[in-house]
Symmetry: C2
Subunit: 679 residues, 2 copies
């Protein structure tokens, strides 16, 4: 048969493993893993239960802003696991945030008893995630709003080519705040690259409860950037094309090493659970690695996910100052996830998973291929050595590296974020973040930098187009359980020692001074200033040799926010004041920017939680790492940006008694299918 068919069959066979078990889990809820995301049936059940409970109110007033798994408390889940799942699993619950009659409800639903456990009206600061539906409705209001039509006419634009988009407004010290969105509009005449053609000068504010425009301003006009050169679709571009890239087709002679059952993934020496959440996107749980010597799986991470993002723009003027986005808590990193394209977003041998979330009406919505999972053969070397030191012998041992990647892409409006969770057979967990997509640009009159006399707050990337300076901060919740939940956070400080009384011809050397951090405030670290290694250890366990069993954080970025700490956006994003934080496990502390982030006032952030300065030694603790990018745009970012990558790594350090891949054999790659030339 044709290899392409071969590949498809092969992918299908793996997908079917998933879909079968997935349907199993959905049909027999007792087959659920307690951490499985809600199934379509469960979303429907939650929707029915809550809608019925409000049968007296106008259902049009009821909107589902967030529906997700209310995961079991950690001790409960772990004790269930410790019984090897023989006991009854923890109760299956959903956490729901609704808006009803201009009020925010926090609701917990028990799915086994189909009952509402609690329903609180939230009266604190901030609002829940936006729904896609309300954003779409709001973004269409301008089309029938006379002053806006006037502004469009004044600019000589065709209304049919104008599209609008919604922006969170942040908080700038206001005493009272309505639930509103800002609307900015763009011009698609002759291109689909709307974000690079803003209708600059016009801002609208929409009240989401009234769903009507409550503020409007048209302060100035600038020439509309031309459509030419903004197109990125190959089908719409004209020659010359290039550079020409030659691809590879891959086949796995021994098949795939990936086993998927429900949401549990096994690969090489790894086992973990992969969940989808409309707010966080991918959630990795119970990541454990098989220890060949101890003949058992050992836990590394209880739960890891992107807790919050902060994307502040550096333009203080009226049309731009509020642009300080929290993509996880405001727009939903999972809600913004897009379907991945086989062969392009992921290699040919990738397998895919779907994701589900609740629409504004509470009914399940499917995102096909929201995750891809693939074995990565990048051509790297796992380990090697050539030995010529022994007379008459030349020894060469090389092990090529294969790793497993779980990928999701979240497109929050203009930006595409590529999130990779990579599992290496060495025990390392590597997280990769790729930034691509379209710049957020400001329309200006300039066509040459010589015309810019004051701070342009960005780079002139095209005629009439400034790519505005901004940052991206991604804050990861990393609940490491290094060989068990009781851990301590240790700084290995590299300190210079001066050689005393000439005991050596050397005058100096460095050594390691280890400090176990006792409390939260001492665990806050701004990276890059000191030469130290950060290790999460299990104080109750040591190797046979007596070394503390640990995992080390290899940070990839040491960037922190440059905004003043007292500035409103930074108060809300105070979790970016440091790159590293450590807190004791607390089920309620999941979202670094708080539960209700839209227009939040910074009273529920990681920075506030840690002020209690709780003890973190010899406890179940959570590591928070923030990686940041300062983005000074350049012309290469226009009209679409090539991927800018960053990441970090969690690496075992004295977790194993010796190299865990010492006895890994090189994979068979010599045996091919019989290929008879090209088609």
């Amino acid at each position: 048969m044709e290899a392409s068919t071969l590949r498809n069959t092969f992918i299908f066979s793996l997908l079917s493993i998933f879909s079968i078990s997935s349907s199993t889990t959905t049909s027999h809820s007792h087959h659920h893993h307690p951490l499985d995301p809600l199934t379509p049936q469960e979303f429907t059940l939650v929707q029915t239960i809550i809608t019925n409970s409000y049968h007296n109110s106008n259902p049009n007033n009821l909107t589902f802003q967030y529906v997700g798994l209310d995961e079991p408390n950690k001790p409960t889940l772990l004790s269930w696991l410790s019984t090897l799942k023989t006991t009854t699993p923890p109760p299956r619950r959903a956490f729901v945030i609704t808006r009803l009659n201009k009020q925010t409800h926090e609701i917990t639903v028990d799915l086994s008893t189909s009952s509402i456990i609690s329903d609180h009206i939230y009266s604190g600061h901030g609002y829940p995630l936006f729904t896609l539906e309300e954003q779409t409705t709001a973004s269409e209001l301008p089309m029938t709003y006379p002053p806006f039509l006037e502004s469009v006419k004044k600019r000589g634009l065709n209304l049919s080519d104008v599209v609008c988009s919604t922006y969170s407004v942040g908080w700038y010290g206001e005493e009272k705040s309505a639930r509103v969105l800002r609307i900015l509009c763009f011009y698609t005449e002759g291109t689909v690259n709307l974000y690079v053609r803003p209708v600059e000068g016009v801002t609208l504010v929409v009240d989401l409860d009234e769903m009507k425009i409550t503020q409007y301003s048209d302060r100035f006009t600038v020439p509309m950037a031309k459509a030419g050169g903004t197109e990125y679709r190959a089908a719409k571009q004209k020659p010359p094309f290039g550079p020409k890239l030659k691809g590879v087709a891959t086949v796995q002679p021994d098949g795939s090493g990936i086993e998927i059952a429900g949401h549990t993934i096994r690969w090489a020496n790894w086992a973990f659970h992969l969940g989808f959440d409309v707010r966080a996107g991918p959630i990795i749980s119970l990541a454990s690695i098989y220890d060949l010597e101890k003949k058992t799986f050992r836990r590394v991470m209880y739960r890891g996910y992107i807790s919050e993002m902060f994307v502040p723009y550096m333009e203080p003027t009226e049309e731009w100052y509020y642009k300080t986005f929290f993509d996880v808590g405001e727009f939903g990193f999972g809600l913004s996830a897009v379907s991945l394209e086989p062969m392009k977003d992921c290699p040919a041998h990738a397998v895919f998973m779907d994701g589900y979330y609740a629409g504004q009406d509470g009914k399940p919505v499917k995102i096909s291929n929201v995750f891809c999972i693939f074995e990565q053969n990048a051509g790297n070397v796992l380990w090697r050595h050539t030995e010529t030191g022994i007379l008459g012998e030349v020894i060469r041992e090389v092990r090529p590296e294969v790793s497993l990647v779980v990928r999701m892409v979240s497109t929050v409006g203009n930006y595409d974020y590529i999130i990779d969770w990579e599992f290496k057979p060495t025990g390392s967990i590597k997280v990769g973040v790729g930034l691509t997509g379209i710049l957020e640009v400001k329309g200006v009159s300039y066509t040459h930098t010589d015309q810019i006399k004051e701070d342009g707050h960005g780079t002139l990337v095209a005629d009439n187009t400034i790519g505005v300076y901004h940052d991206h901060f991604l804050t990861f919740h990393l609940d490491l359980d290094v060989d068990g939940e009781t851990n301590s956070f240790v700084k290995h400080k590299l300190e210079t020692r001066r050689v005393a009384n000439n005991i050596s011809p050397r005058k100096s050397y460095w050594t390691v001074v280890s400090e176990t951090v006792k409390t939260e405030l001492d665990a806050r670290i701004q990276l890059g200033l000191k030469q130290e290694e950060l290790v999460m250890v299990n104080p109750k366990k040591k190797t046979k040799l007596g070394n503390p069993i640990g995992y080390r954080l290899f940070p990839g970025s040491t960037v922190t926010s440059l905004l003043l700490k007292e500035d409103y956006p930074q108060i809300r994003a105070a979790f970016t004041n440091y790159n590293v934080w450590v807190t004791p496990y607390n089920k309620s502390e999941k979202w670094a920017g708080g539960v209700f982030v839209d227009q939040s006032r910074g009273d529920d952030t990681l920075a506030v939680w840690t002020l209690r300065n709780r003890k973190i030694e010899n406890k179940d603790i959570v590591l928070w790492y923030t990686m940041g990018f300062h983005h000074v745009p350049c012309q290469e970012d226009f009209p679409i940006m090539s991927t800018l990558s960053g990441g970090f790594e969690l690496r075992p350090t004295n977790f194993f008694e010796r190299n865990p891949v010492l006895k890994t054999k090189a994979p068979k790659i010599g045996h091919w299918p019989n290929c008879t030339a090209k088609p």
Copy 2:
């Protein structure tokens, strides 16, 4: 035919391109590229010329310590290139360092006239690279040295299982110094992993001019570490094996995109010259990228290579204090290069190049497969965007990333360094450094950390085995020519601005303050302390929009040396005092640690050159970047280390008018050869 055959044919076809043109170049020297490394014929010619010139002296006294291309002065080469190679190429010359009658000679040979242009006796501090032959001879001396045999006997070891290795001695303030090496020995009984079984306590010093042992000490004994668990050869290991990795086989439906003619490589939009030097290893020259809009190649880098390495160990006691190695200038990074193993060190579709160097007798020695060159398809995304903002349309454009990798592995004794020069179609040049191989360990009496009462200067990684703390610093010579040789070095400082008189609800933002660095001393940067971007620009050229055409350094590591500046090793390695330096081009300033590094005294380093504080603005300048690793060993590094990776990137920033891969089509990967199942 069988696909494996298919592949081999395919590789052969590419190799033949190389070998044909290579033989061409060697047979008609006028077909040489002036930067081609010396051919075997040229090595022989140099050897004959020099040997004849010393016909009066005892040829046994004559040793060739270094023979390499004396590359043309840059202006000469560039003016030749500017005539499109129509004029006569620059004279073809070799630079040679010999030892004769205990003296070091610096010799320049003209190959066209077969004459010696200059022959100076070097009387300064320091000695040339070691030859393999003298190291081998020296390392065998102990086997017949009675005191050593006594020490072996005393330890109850079989002499036949003892192997010795050579170590540079450094400089610790001595007034006079002979050309010597230290010898340390290891025990191979029951294993080939010699480095983890040192015969601790015994040191020998060999005078290389006399080729005899001049110092001997046996200060103490420690239990010999056991052989069990040190073996890394799959063939010698016992089950259980694992973790099991599944491989992939690849085929390129449209063939390879790599074109090699002689030492010139073309791929996608890149063209560059790849040379091999016995000291530096790979040398990338004249890297230029094709600009689709300007319809011309534009130069990015004139010359890039590893100029020096510094690997200091942090053990001040008698047996260890001197271990502060300069792997490039003492042992030769190219001399230490090993043959790469197809399918393991490099992917199946890689092509290979051989390298040549002069043996101690001056005759050419071949290293087969010293380089591999391959297209990397790691499954990454070059750029992508999904657009749902336009009603009734869903747009998804994705371009998978393909890049070109040039790889060499240098095994300096125990350590294996994997050096990757990666060229991306975006214009980015990424350098990857992987550290693998065997730890340098110290024999101790300890079998548990509880027994260690004082500073062990390392980690107990096995019984009787301490992995000693150490650093790796790699200093890269990056002669960037950003769209021409006249460049300036600019710091883009990200500075926080406080909003004045409440003109905005915001209190702060950051902006970019650009500073062109005028002189060498101001260009010295220790990274990690400030948030700034480092850009090499062409002050004579701007984009149509007026942005300075530039390339930006994305440093991967901000680590610097922790030794005291006044310590002897640090004086010799003063080029690691900062991560970044910029100097005006000067042909003689190639080696950051000096030309004669063995026992150097730091009088010829990058740090000394820059004290002249020359002007670097609007000049042909060279960027020097040092990436460092602090290595605190862990048990996972034993008995062999998995690859620890680092690197840096040079990225175009306003070099192009727009994204240079905007009009790249996704490579064809759907079409496979017809494959009929597995063999």
